[in-house]
């Protein structure tokens, strides 16, 4: 791109006075699920009243186990999955009720990168056509200039000359993910939802792709909503992180404090379960027992109480709300002020049970 909308050295923060790029408030996404033996459909709340803000040029992390609704949230805010309630504002436009005109802005300015690179690329198309398609759809540039733009995009993501003539299956996993990123960057988006973008890659390749994501952000000022289960990756990339459990945000905060001293017992459990490449730090016995309940059957009260080592009677009946914490985060737990703030390893928690 000849004139990159560079934000040179911009600290990961919004320009003063600017509204946030994305504002999600009380988003609800339901799924209808056919129940065996029953005539009617059951309604599953995959996302249950989530509010989230993404600033300009920053990375926001979203973590949680599978079934927590984090991917659904990402898709709903891009209006790829219908929402049942709430509001999403993107670049000042309301997304959920947007007509064709405003939706076009969203389709141009917000993109998606997936976990499985080969599945996210149409195997019957050459790399060049894949990257060019958003330009064709959005009528960006003219026929003559698009191949040049495709070349620039491929160059930007570090793919060698001639890559546009290859088919996706001829590339390595890391290269495929670069193609997916080039396609996402084609319409010059301000937001890319990254759904587990490195989870399917080898460790040595993960670092390459993460480094590329950072580089692209520096060059274009794009924001990432970074969805991942790997806390290490999220902590490395995101300045702020949201923790989801069964469709709701249970904790939010600056990544540094959230992962160093998690407040919510669920976050503590996640941190404790993350393997550390250091045999000296003996792995503690797992803090979280059992598995995430089915979203068809969300526990009453605090949705986490069935797995929480600290649960009390109040937790079983009363739903905790996200309450602000002194360090600028928020936590949805009745007991957060009483609980010990765990060290990063989760070591102090072991007495909890």
């Amino acid at each position: 791109m000849s004139a990159p909308r560079a934000v040179p050295g911009a600290p990961p923060g919004a320009p003063p006075g600017a509204s946030p790029l994305v504002e999600v408030s009380d988003l609800v996404v339901n799924y209808r699920v056919r129940v065996r033996g029953a005539r009617s459909h059951a309604v599953v709340r995959a996302v249950d009243g989530v509010s989230l803000t993404v600033g300009r040029g920053v990375t926001v992390g979203l973590v949680g186990e599978s079934g927590s609704g984090k991917s659904t949230l990402g898709r709903a805010l891009l209006r790829l999955t219908p929402a049942a309630g709430g509001a999403v504002t993107f670049e000042g436009h309301e997304v959920l009720s947007a007509g064709r005109g405003s939706l076009r802005v969203l389709r141009q300015r917000a993109q998606l990168v997936f976990q499985n690179p080969i599945g996210s690329l149409n195997g019957r198309m050459r790399v060049g056509s894949i990257v060019r398609e958003p330009l064709d759809i959005q009528r960006i540039g003219d026929r003559a200039s698009r191949p040049q733009r495709v070349r620039e995009l491929l160059d930007q993501v570090g793919l060698p000359a001639g890559a546009e003539h290859r088919y996706p299956h001829e590339l390595s996993g890391g290269q495929q993910q670069r193609v997916a990123l080039a396609r996402a960057l084609a319409p010059a988006p301000s937001l890319i939802v990254c759904d587990e973008p490195v989870a399917a890659l080898d460790v040595s390749v993960q670092a390459q792709v993460l480094e590329l994501l950072k580089e692209v952000q520096r060059a274009t000022g794009v924001s990432y909503l970074f969805i991942a289960h790997d806390l290490n990756v999220v902590r490395h990339l995101a300045r702020e992180t949201y923790v989801m459990y069964l469709g709701a945000v249970v904790e939010r905060g600056a990544s540094s404090s959230l992962f160093e001293r998690p407040r919510h017992p669920y976050t503590q459990g996640l941190v404790a379960a993350t393997p550390v490449a250091d045999p000296a730090r003996s792995s503690p016995p797992p803090l979280l027992r059992g598995e995430i309940p089915s979203p068809m059957d969300v526990p009453a009260g605090c949705r986490f109480h069935t797995r929480c080592p600290f649960a009390r009677d109040r937790c079983r009946t009363e739903v905790p709300v996200l309450a602000p914490t002194p360090d600028g985060g928020a936590v949805a737990c009745h007991l957060w002020e009483e609980l010990p703030r765990a060290a990063a390893s989760g070591g102090t928690l072991l007495s909890g049970r």
Partner: protein
């Protein structure tokens, strides 16, 4: 021909598994190429050896070859294969069939795929128990209940009548572990047993595996790409690259003093990602090699920061650099 030094093992620990110069070849005997290129390793009872590598390194094939389960189109050869102290005449399917499930068992990455979707859990247990242990039907069912209880599955009688699709991945992985351990094998090959699970479940399953190992005393060959997971589980780590073991060391040594440039780069990457403060991640340049067209000499040389002309001359052999610590790199110590 054993390696120069034996890995540090407790005195008197019996050998659960020993294999020498294991080779897995893809394609015809002539014109084919090796995917596993002469792997030797030993697992003692009560011990866990981790086989670590990236995709295409041959770690999974090594595990499969030990059970005679390599995919069609491949052939397996080894200088020597010993399971539970018993020498095998060959690595042929026929010779291994006698050991498979009884003396050596395997847990796979994806339990949903590894289990038969149209049989109930109970039926699958019955098949395995009656075949491997020649138990009667009621005895097998009672045994299955006990085995499920031992892996922390509550409500075992009900679970036995359910189908795999009715269960979560974490539950299925527990069940697969119970199935694999049903004959109390000498060796368990665990191939990425928790890669398909959330980290919270990973922690639970690995704790369970450790617990069962303490009770049954089998040797575990843990095949994994995850250095973090391995750090907490293994006694010894064998690092594979392009079908060969390039470094072997007691876990603590490997993490504190990695000798091979590949291991060093891999560890640096993992630690960089885990460190929120690092500004630039150290990535290994390039991509893993294609096994069909390997360069002469060390396979890692094209990506290696320390590569010297002598690296491209001959394939480096494992040599000892400390007690139980072997490395296949001519540059180490220079």
């Amino acid at each position: 021909m054993r390696a120069v030094t034996e890995p540090a093992t407790p005195v008197g620990a019996a050998t659960a598994l020993a294999v020498e110069r294991l080779r897995v070849t893809l394609g015809p005997r002539t014109g084919g190429h090796d995917l596993v290129r002469g792997v030797s390793l030993t697992v003692h009872r009560h011990r866990t050896v981790a086989l670590v590598g990236e995709s295409g390194s041959g770690k999974t094939l090594t595990g499969l070859a030990l059970l005679g389960l390599t995919p069609p189109g491949t052939s397996v050869a080894a200088g020597r294969l010993q399971i539970g102290g018993e020498e095998l005449a060959s690595c042929s399917d026929a010779d291994l069939a006698r050991f498979r499930g009884r003396r050596i068992a395997m847990v796979f990455q994806n339990p949903m795929v590894a289990m038969n979707p149209v049989l109930t859990i109970g039926q699958q247990f019955l098949q395995v128990l009656r075949h491997n242990l020649a138990l009667s039907r009621p005895a097998a069912r009672a045994r299955a209940r006990d085995l499920l209880g031992a892996v922390g599955v509550a409500d075992a009688p009900r679970r036995l009548d359910q189908y795999p699709f009715e269960m979560s991945g974490g539950m299925l992985q527990r069940i697969m572990l119970a199935l694999a351990l049903s004959a109390e094998p000498d060796v368990l090959v665990a191939d990425e047993p928790t890669t398909a699970l959330d980290t919270t479940l990973q922690a639970q399953v690995m704790a369970l595996l450790a617990e069962r190992q303490a009770q049954l005393g089998m040797g575990v060959l843990l095949v994994s790409h995850d250095l973090g997971l391995v750090a907490g589980m293994a006694d010894e780590v064998d690092v594979m690259y392009a079908g060969r073991i390039v470094e072997r060391a007691p876990t603590a040594d490997l993490f504190s003093a990695p000798a091979h440039p590949y291991t060093q780069a891999l560890l640096r990457t993992v630690r960089d990602i885990a460190s929120p403060t690092t500004t630039v991640l150290s990535a290994i340049p390039g991509a893993p090699p294609q096994l069909a067209t390997l360069p002469a000499g060390c396979s890692f040389a094209p990506r290696c920061p320390l590569a010297a002309p002598e690296c491209t001359v001959a394939l480096p052999e494992l040599r000892a650099v400390a007690a139980g610590h072997e490395v296949a790199c001519v540059r180490v110590g220079q």
